[in-house]
């Protein structure tokens, strides 16, 4: 009675000892895995103006970088609600650097200028800005070729307009917005040389009242039957829907609209951020001052068309899309005159990217600014 139980105890002890030894061996053999693996633990900082859950610019960017970071297994550090020119951005940069961020995205126009001294100070951190003119050794400007989407939108608007008057509610007169207007207008003219584009400035990225008023005036006073806009919100779209005019959205998928909502110019921010982060990981980012990403990378597209966009229209859009895919220079090349009659680009010439980025302070022929 006693002896078997003792044997069993011995067996249990032996088994336990075996398990412990096995565990020790396991640890000994595999503990060095991490050191040998050489896996990277980069941290990505991300500073943005609004709330990351706010639909539109903020959420689309956040979701994009989140997806890209997840794909590469990178850690994402987010600082949102960071107001421009308030001192909040430098604090956020300091904070992120302190937390070990290797890359910091400055996702608002004025951030880069505000933190310029910090960019030089933290020279081993890669800064990435969007839509800025600031330059630094360790900073890369990354751009989505939104203007390519504008061009497609222009083609569609040119096909849809019956009044040959197309309204454009624009925020601020800068190189980025003008580039978009010009590209849109060139698109319109490519398919409908008789149509004209009317631009109304609001003077702000977010001013729903002014936007709505402008949209109403463009339709009611100027007879525009297709509208588009360059604002952070869709106030223009609401007015157009209300007044039964076609409209094309920008940088967001809108919901709850009729077939007047023809499509949106959208950017696949996940692909955009993936491209940037991949270049960072490959060590190619520092060699690039500017990084343009567009149709060729599949980043810029039009969203799902409404029923108002007929199959012939769709096939035209497809072919233009293909042209863009193979030729980045399709839009800003050959003879281009501005609305004052000045030749901005000669035959067999191409407007350089640097020029497109910084110096578009003119509007092409066929664009009128109205008050």
């Amino acid at each position: 009675m006693n002896i078997p139980s003792e044997k069993r105890r011995l067996k249990i002890l032996l088994g336990l000892g075996g398990c412990i030894v096995a565990a020790i061996v396991w640890v000994l053999v595999f503990a060095f895995d991490a050191t040998a693996d050489g896996s990277r633990h980069d941290k990505i900082g991300f500073i943005i103006l609004g709330d990351i859950n706010e639909a539109g610019w903020n959420a689309s960017h956040y979701n994009g970088i989140k997806a890209a970071c997840d794909e590469f297994g990178l850690e994402l550090l987010v600082r949102d609600h960071v107001k421009e020119d308030s001192g909040q951005c430098p604090a956020a940069v300091e904070d992120l650097v302190a937390q070990g961020a290797n890359v910091i995205f400055l996702v608002s126009f004025n951030y880069a200028a505000e933190v310029r001294p910090l960019i030089d100070k933290y020279s081993n951190v890669a800064f990435i800005n969007t839509t800025t003119l600031e330059q630094a050794k360790n900073m890369t400007a990354c751009f989505a070729r939104m203007y390519q989407g504008r061009y497609l939108a222009g083609v569609l608007a040119g096909m849809r307009t019956k009044s040959n008057v197309i309204g454009y509610v624009a925020a601020i007169n800068n190189s980025e917005v003008c580039r978009g207007i010009n590209s849109f207008a060139l698109g319109v003219q490519r398919i409908n040389p008789n149509a004209k584009v009317l631009v109304m400035w609001t003077g702000a990225w977010q001013d729903e009242a002014t936007e709505a008023a402008h949209a109403r005036r463009l339709i009611e006073n100027y007879g525009a039957d297709v509208l588009t806009y360059h604002q952070d919100e869709d106030a223009t779209a609401q007015v157009a829907e209300q007044l039964g005019a076609d409209f094309i959205g920008y940088n967001a998928l809108l919901e709850g609209y009729s077939e007047h909502y023809l499509t949106s110019v959208i950017c696949h921010w996940d692909l955009y951020y993936k491209d940037i982060l991949q270049k960072y990981l490959k060590g190619e980012l520092l060699a690039l001052r500017n990084n343009w990403i567009g149709v060729k990378q599949g980043v810029i597209t039009l969203s799902k068309y409404s029923d108002a966009v007929t199959p012939p229209m769709r096939s035209v859009l497809d072919s233009v899309y293909n042209e863009l895919f193979y030729n980045n220079n399709l839009i800003f090349s050959d003879e281009i005159y501005d609305n004052r009659g000045q030749l901005r680009c000669g035959k067999n010439q191409v407007i350089s990217e640097r020029e497109l980025l910084r110096n578009i302070d003119w509007l092409v022929k066929g664009v009128e600014v109205v008050e």
């Binding site: 060095f32 040998a36 050489g38 590469f72 490959k282 060590g283 350089s352 990217e353």
Partner: protein, 820 residues
């Protein structure tokens, strides 16, 4: 055990091998992973070199582009192109519009050179097109507008010379590929074998792994172990181009020296594992040994315990046997003393011989148990050798003559007679040898030789040897001769009595006395046992010539003294023993007083003075030692100066010392030997009261008839030495004591005092047997055993029946007394 051990070691070896194998694998893996990292780092450094070559090309074009943007004159443009062309037919230079159509020189197709549109956006490009060559192109920018692209295109056959990379080391190969894997710039020695290498499916898979890593890394290297051997494959993408630099290096070239380290580590690890293994085996063996020695210890302990149990058993047995022997020898002595009939005397003499022999067996056993337990001690004293020899001859000669054997004694007359040693043991040794010789010799002679050898002035070697013409001993048996309980030729010897202890005891005794024993024997012809014992010489007297006439015939008992004035007290709870002592001393006329208990004795001691006291050791109530202590402490004791002799049946070693320590003068072991008793009296009685004996005649009485249910009178008479008077006296005493004894028993029974009960019932057992109450004795024996073992139930169940039996027995006794 052996198989289990082998299995355990095997398991250990397997486990260690598995661990070793795993560790080696892991080491190799870590080594390769580390080398992969190192090589990737080097690759990225080399990629920078490759890139710089490209940058040099682009720098030249930049200068040209700069020039072109400032000079619109076509003549100037041609000059520039001429300087770029290097006068080589395989170098094509030209200027195109951004869309690829030619301005000067050949046009470029954006379908051949996919990166061309990037140049049209303002970027420098390096682009490879299979069959066309490697293109370097730089945009010409004027006022923010790209108006042209200047390019230089190298045909493929030039590429190796211009861009072929220096070899990494003598055994490695480097080349530039399109990122899709097509080779652009092979190394100089690139041949068919290399082509086959790069086309090998497994190698291609290896480079796929490199490519996979390159999606998120600047450079990468992978360890390849396949059909083509061990290699590191590595690669890095060249930024801003569609090119990648790839290469391979044999594993040996990189890890050769490190692998020696690896081998060393493996060696050391193996060594350590082996040491571990050896240590394990060693520990295991030690453990086994310890286990075995534990087992030995336990076995020895068990054996010791068994031995102790044996000793205890022997001591108990001796006690049990001595009581009846006491009666036999004592009564027989009475017969010898009192009988006038020659036949009776003869019978009685035979009884005496048988009794002596029985006693000697018991003594043998006791001696042996003493020796075994290490309690045997030598008692050395001065003695005369002649006396011992005489004694021996007297003892053996009759036996030899009985068997018609010639018995010769040869004593060297020059032996010192006065010696110092344990005469008792020397005598015992000689007796053992002589009796053996007589026992085992059927015809012929037995010779007893006594000789010596001077060893020092006061020391001799005493040589006793016994030669016989007996059956002899087989050579094979000789070794076992002195081991315990051995008897040889069992069939032949079955009629010979003995315990088989004789020689074992002899051997041990001789050893104890620092002597030795030798045996010389021819099987079937006879043996010689020779004993040599060192003895000290204490006197100058020599033994002289030894006369055989000194052998005395067996004489009728004559008391050695009379002491009619002496008073002695004998204390014993056993009435029989009192009777025996009284009987044995009858003819000495010593005045004997008896007491049946310690308390009784104390009373008697207060009444009068005694010259000597015999005090039994084991008694119910006060035992001997307690009684003596009380007596010595009692003021009214009139015999404080009287010597007290202990009587004990447990004559085990150490007893004498114990009794002396307790205040006794001496001790006498039961059964009481008449001569010892008399000797004791002579020694301790005041000499003035001891006189020479006078002639004395005892009467003989007729034995009574028998015929009772519970009383075997024949047996009772036997125990009483066939003396009807004595028997009657004993019966009377038995009857008279009955009420008292029975009451005491009942009292102990009622009080559940099993210890006292055991003593009382033990006494009843022996007294009833000594008067012939066999059934009573049997019943009492069972009760005694039960009470001793704590078997209370049995005692309670059988006590009443035993008491009834007691009544019946006493009734029988009274009837017998009335009849006679």
């Amino acid at each position: 055990m052996n198989r289990k051990f082998t299995l355990q070691i095997l398991c250990l070896i397997i486990a260690l091998s598995v661990v070793g194998f795993l560790m080696q694998q892991r080491f190799g893996y870590i080594l390769n992973a580390t080398l992969e990292q190192r090589i990737a780092q080097q690759t990225s450094d080399m990629a920078i070199v490759a890139e710089e070559r490209f940058q040099q090309e682009l720098a030249q074009l930049h200068i040209a582009a700069e020039y072109l943007s400032k000079h619109q004159d076509r003549e100037d443009w041609n000059d520039i192109l001429k300087t770029l062309a290097k006068d080589d037919a395989d170098v094509i230079v030209g200027i195109t519009f951004p869309n690829g159509t030619a301005v000067i020189g050949a046009p470029l197709s954006k379908y051949n050179f996919i990166r061309l549109p990037m140049a049209a956006q303002g970027n420098d490009i390096v682009d490879y097109s299979a069959g066309k060559g490697l293109l370097f192109a730089v945009p010409v920018i004027k006022d923010g507008l790209i108006c042209a692209i200047v390019y230089r295109l190298y045909a493929e056959n030039l590429l190796t010379d211009l861009f072929g990379l220096a070899e990494y080391n003598s055994s490695s190969r480097l080349l530039i590929q399109e990122r899709n894997g097509r080779i652009i710039v092979p190394y100089k020695s690139y041949g068919e074998a290399d082509k086959a290498f790069f086309k090998d499916v497994t190698i291609i898979d290896g480079f796929k792994a490199v490519r996979e890593r390159l999606t998120t890394n600047r450079s990468a290297a992978v360890y390849y172990d396949g059909a083509r051997g061990k290699y590191f494959l590595f690669g890095a993408d060249l930024p801003q181009t569609n090119c990648a630099m790839v290469g391979y290096v044999p594993w040996d070239a990189v890890a050769g020296s490190i692998s020696r380290l690896n081998a060393m580590i493996v060696f050391v690890t193996t060594l350590m594992l082996l040491l571990f293994l050896v240590a394990s085996i060693y520990l295991f063996l030690i453990n086994e040994k310890a286990k075995q020695s534990d087992e030995f210890k336990r076995e020895k302990q068990e054996a010791d315990q068994a031995n102790q149990a044996k000793s205890a058993f022997l001591a108990n047995m001796s006690h049990e046997i001595r009581t009846p022997i006491n009666a036999i020898i004592g009564m027989n002595e009475m017969i010898l003393r009192e009988s006038r009939e020659p036949d009776t005397i003869k019978y009685s003499q035979n009884v005496a011989v048988a009794g002596e022999s029985l006693l000697s067996i018991i003594n043998d056993i006791l001696d042996f148990s003493k020796i075994e337990s290490g309690k045997m001690e030598l008692v050395e004293e001065n003695y005369t050798l002649a006396e011992i020899v005489k004694n021996l001859v007297n003892m053996i000669k009759p036996r030899a003559e009985q068997k018609n054997l010639a018995f010769a004694v040869n004593v060297n007359p020059n032996i010192p007679n006065q010696l110092f040693g344990d005469s008792v043991r020397i005598r015992q040794v000689a007796v053992n040898l002589l009796t053996n010789a007589v026992k085992y010799t059927q015809a012929g002679f037995v010779t007893f030789n006594v000789d010596f050898e001077q060893r020092a002035v006061e020391e001799i070697l005493l040589k006793l040897s016994v030669t016989d013409t007996g059956m002899g001993i087989h050579d094979a048996d000789r070794k076992k001769l002195f081991t315990d309980f051995q008897r040889f030729d069992a069939k032949k010897n079955k009629h010979i009595e003995g315990t088989g202890l004789g020689l074992a005891i002899t051997y041990r005794l001789v050893k104890m006395m620092n002597g030795w024993i030798t045996v010389d024997s021819v099987y079937g012809e006879g043996s010689t046992f020779a004993v040599t014992i060192p003895q000290k010489v204490t006197g100058t007297e020599l033994i002289g010539s030894f006369s055989e006439d000194s052998i005395a015939a067996q004489e009728k008992y004559r008391p050695s003294f009379t002491a009619p004035d002496a008073n002695i007290l004998v204390v014993d709870d056993n009435e029989m023993n009192l009777l025996v002592v009284a009987g044995l001393l009858k003819e000495t006329h010593v005045q004997i007083d008896t007491a049946a208990s310690g308390t009784d004795a104390l009373k008697k001691l207060a009444e009068r003075h005694y010259d000597l006291i015999f005090l039994d050791q084991m008694m119910p109530g006060l035992d001997g030692i307690q009684t003596l202590k009380l007596a010595l402490a009692m003021p009214e004791n009139k015999s404080k100066d009287a010597p007290t002799i202990a009587l004990t049946a447990n004559a085990i070693s150490g007893a004498k010392e114990m009794f002396l320590r307790e205040g006794f003068s001496d001790y006498l072991s039961k059964p009481v030997e008449p001569k010892s008793l008399e000797k004791m009296l002579v020694q301790y009685l005041p000499p003035e009261k001891v006189h020479e004996p006078a002639a004395h005649v005892a009467e003989i009485q007729e034995p009574a008839t028998a015929g009772f249910k519970y009383l075997n009178t024949e047996l009772g008479l036997q125990y009483s030495g066939d003396m009807p008077d004595m028997y009657k006296e004993m019966l009377e005493m038995f009857c008279n004591l009955k009420p008292e004894k029975q009451a005491a028993l009942q009292e102990a029974f009622d009080a559940a005092d099993w210890k006292n009960y055991t003593v009382l019932i033990h006494a009843l057992k022996s007294t009833s047997l000594s008067i012939g109450g066999v059934q009573m004795s049997e019943a009492a024996k069972k009760l005694e055993l039960a009470a001793k073992d704590g078997n209370v139930e049995f005692v309670q169940a059988n006590h009443a029946a035993a008491m009834t039996l007691y009544d019946e027995l006493v009734a029988d006794c009274q009837n017998y007394l009335q009849q006679s």
